[in-house]
Amino acid sequence: MIFEVNREEFTRAIKPAVEVASKGVLKEFKYENLLTIKAAQDKIIAFAYGGLISLISPISDSNFDPLEYSCEEEGMVTVYADDLMTFVLSLPKGYSKIKISLDSNQLKIESADKKKGKKKTSSARTMPTISEVVHPPNLGKIFNQEVEVDREVFVKGMDSVLFAPAFEEKMYSFMCMLFEAKGNTSNQVLRFSAGTGGRFAVKDIKGKNIISNKKDAKIIFPKDSLNIMSKLLSESSSPTISIKRVIANQKDNVSDQIMIEFDEMVMCIFGLEHFTKYPDLTKVLTHSYSNRVYSNLEDWKPVVRTIEGTRHRYNENIHNTEIILEEEDEVIKVTPKTAHTSPTYIDMMDVDDCILKGDKIWFRCNSHYLGEIVAQGDKGRVQFNFESQALLDNIPKDKPKQMKPILVKFPEGVDEAKDITDNFYIFFSVSTK
């Protein structure tokens, strides 16, 4: 196997495969950190598979220009992914074009630039090769959902809820992100939702041309795949990406998978068996709440810092905060339920638009949720929608005490260049502790 490529473009081209091979890989998986490179006359194909994600990445002048690819001898080799990246990056800066060849079970990387003459031999890098060949699982051919979306919009939406999936193994069914697309309308919508079971984050992005094939989709992505997906897609140059849901097919030996196509690459996500259903979040988002209060996100920052300051470092890692609406003074009273209680106050904003019903209007929630609200931005008008927790006392003793979660709506974002608007919501449960 002997081929020549532009070094800079080759580095960019193999990066996604290196990421898939070396990050978020199942422990002690047989292809962990392995990358198989197949050199053909017209292109190179890189194969990576870490147990949860696979990537088949054709690399040619058509998708990575100027790759300046030329193949002297076809062949295939498997190397350690991170070593390959390190060696390519470690070559002297002057090497614009490199020659990669297989020389007695060693992969040799050297300068292909003829001007360098004698020096190229001395600066060549050689690395060991592996006899194992990376075989990603079979790709599905029949899809039950297929949607083509704007790449930038997709990455933006996904990044907004990356913090939100559950982090505890016992909440495994929430260790995922729900992606919904509604393309068959004049105002297309992409919705990204993730949550822990007690707190959820939802990002809605509306636009006219964000779903190219005007199809609907509802796909659950496992949490393990989100970071790599976000990284690879954000570095891609493709304007759109195609997302396909493949159902397992024993006959063709195809397992349950999500296929994402971008830059002529095919990324497959596996391990979807546990993610079969997700709660209907629309019921919360469209609920007509009795109380609505506006406040400035900026004002919440010092308050959240105070809450953190009041807790005992070791005994109150998880604690609640009580929020009481004092209508007459037009303030929100925030009192952490910690040993060193210290109430703080936040002014209500746009009081005329606020709706408050009842004498005692309050709720109590995990203080951590308030911290997550503050982490979503620096300033802007946030809207708290809620039912007063005092209403729980009115529920008869033989009925379960149930109430809608607290819904926080963030200011609407507008991207005129892309002609899209986005809305972000966080909702969370109340606590009786």
Partner: protein, 390 residues
């Protein structure tokens, strides 16, 4: 509406209550806590109301952790915190303590204010166990002798008067799966399934050996006896250790038979024999290697006899079929004792598993009267490995 439930005791009844709770909640969110969880997290979760207006079921399999100098103090601290937490758990959330080992009445009192405490027996009497076995198989239209029912129950606790309910149900299920489709259920089926209980196997083994020893040539079932013991040993964690222990217990038992038989042959009364044998003390060792010393084992400043009077009486009384004593001659018992001691020495000096199995076969053959000459025993046990290809 109950919001805290305590389940303690046998698994079968606990599972039954848990299933009832689950069935009563149409849709619910399920949370299971174990020893990895800390109290902060658990208390937060159980007091949160579902975002989707669903019921929430929390199953606590192990009490959560809390910072304290010792584990016992941590447990007390957690229980005290739970007592204060119960009133604020919202109705609709159900917290189940599933066999976490609670017994404090003060805790139960707090639970009863907002829920229920279920305590189930872990053990039942053998007569109840017979009823359970019979009912289980009658429901499935399988009938067998009372002797088989007794064997099944005895395999769980040979000498005792009660059995563990969970073990009984698991054994019944295992036995049912084993005999599924069979038209006739035999004692051998019980031996095959219950081969994990050492006492049961050893005593069954003795009974079978006695029967075989006394049986006529055509009726001997040595393969069955060997099958019982090898199946037990192969399922044991340490084959060699278990084989040694088995042979040691045989040395003890046949030693007793030998002494009683000798006394009977010398026209001694059973009382006299019993008195003489009772003088033999049980020994216990202390120290290691060359410093090991043996001295009489004591209990409440009294020496413990090697053979209890009940045990001495058992060899001369009928158990199943003939009395053990009448199954062997003195010469036969001398030979059996010889083969047992010799085998034990051989195993301790280093043996492969295959060699141990051959030695066991030799023992069984000797007890059953198939081998009657000392030379045969010596020939097999003192062979050269190369010569016999083992």
């Amino acid at each position: 509406m109950e919001k805290v439930i305590i389940l303690e005791g046998n698994m079968v009844e606990r599972k039954g209550i848990l299933d009832k709770i689950k069935n009563s909640l149409a849709d619910y969110e399920l949370f299971i806590f174990d020893k990895q969880d800390n109290y902060d997290y658990v208390s937060q979760m159980v007091t949160e109301i579902s975002c989707f207006e669903e019921r929430r079921l929390f199953i606590i399999k192990h009490l959560p952790k809390m910072d304290a100098p010792t584990e016992a103090q941590s447990r007390t601290k957690v229980l005290n915190h739970f007592k204060k937490l119960f009133p604020v758990i919202p109705l609709g959330n159900i917290v189940v303590f599933d066999n976490v080992g609670l017994s404090a009445e003060s805790f139960f009192k707090e639970v009863r204010k907002c829920g229920r405490v279920y305590k189930f027996n872990q053990k039942i009497s053998k007569s109840d166990a017979y009823r359970v076995v019979n009912e289980y198989f009658q429901k499935r239209k399988i009938r067998f002798d009372r002797e088989i029912t007794s064997l099944i129950v005895d395999s769980l606790n040979l000498d005792g008067t009660d059995v563990d309910v969970d073990k009984l149900y698991l054994l019944i299920k295992k036995f049912y799966h084993y005999i599924y489709g069979k038209t006739k259920v035999t004692k051998q089926d019980v031996y095959a399934v219950c081969s994990s209980s050492r006492d049961f196997i050893i005593w069954t083994f003795y009974n079978m050996l006695d029967e075989n020893s006394a049986a006529l040539e055509d009726n001997k079932q040595m393969e069955l006896v060997m099958g019982l013991i090898t199946e037990y040993l192969e399922n044991a964690k340490y084959f060699q250790h278990e084989a040694t222990m088995t042979i040691q217990s045989m040395v003890w038992r046949y030693g007793l038979l030998l002494m009683v038989k000798n006394g009977v042959n010398n026209k001694m009364s059973l009382e006299e024999i019993s008195r003489k044998i009772s003088n033999i003390n049980k020994l216990e060792s202390s120290g290691r290697a060359q410093r090991m010393r043996l001295k009489p084992k004591m209990k409440s400043e009294q020496r413990i006899p090697q053979y209890s009077s009940k045990m001495i009486g058992s060899v001369s009384n009928r158990n199943y079929g003939r009395a053990s004593l009448s199954c062997y001659t003195l010469n036969q018992l001398l030979l059996i004792y010889y083969v047992l001691v010799k085998t034990l020495i051989k195993i301790r000096s280093g043996c492969t598993d295959a060699e141990i199995k051959i030695s066991l076969y030799l023992i069984v053959s000797t007890i059953c009267g198939e081998i009657t000459k000392k030379n045969t025993i010596d020939g097999v046990l003192e062979h050269k490995k190369v010569k016999y290809g083992i």
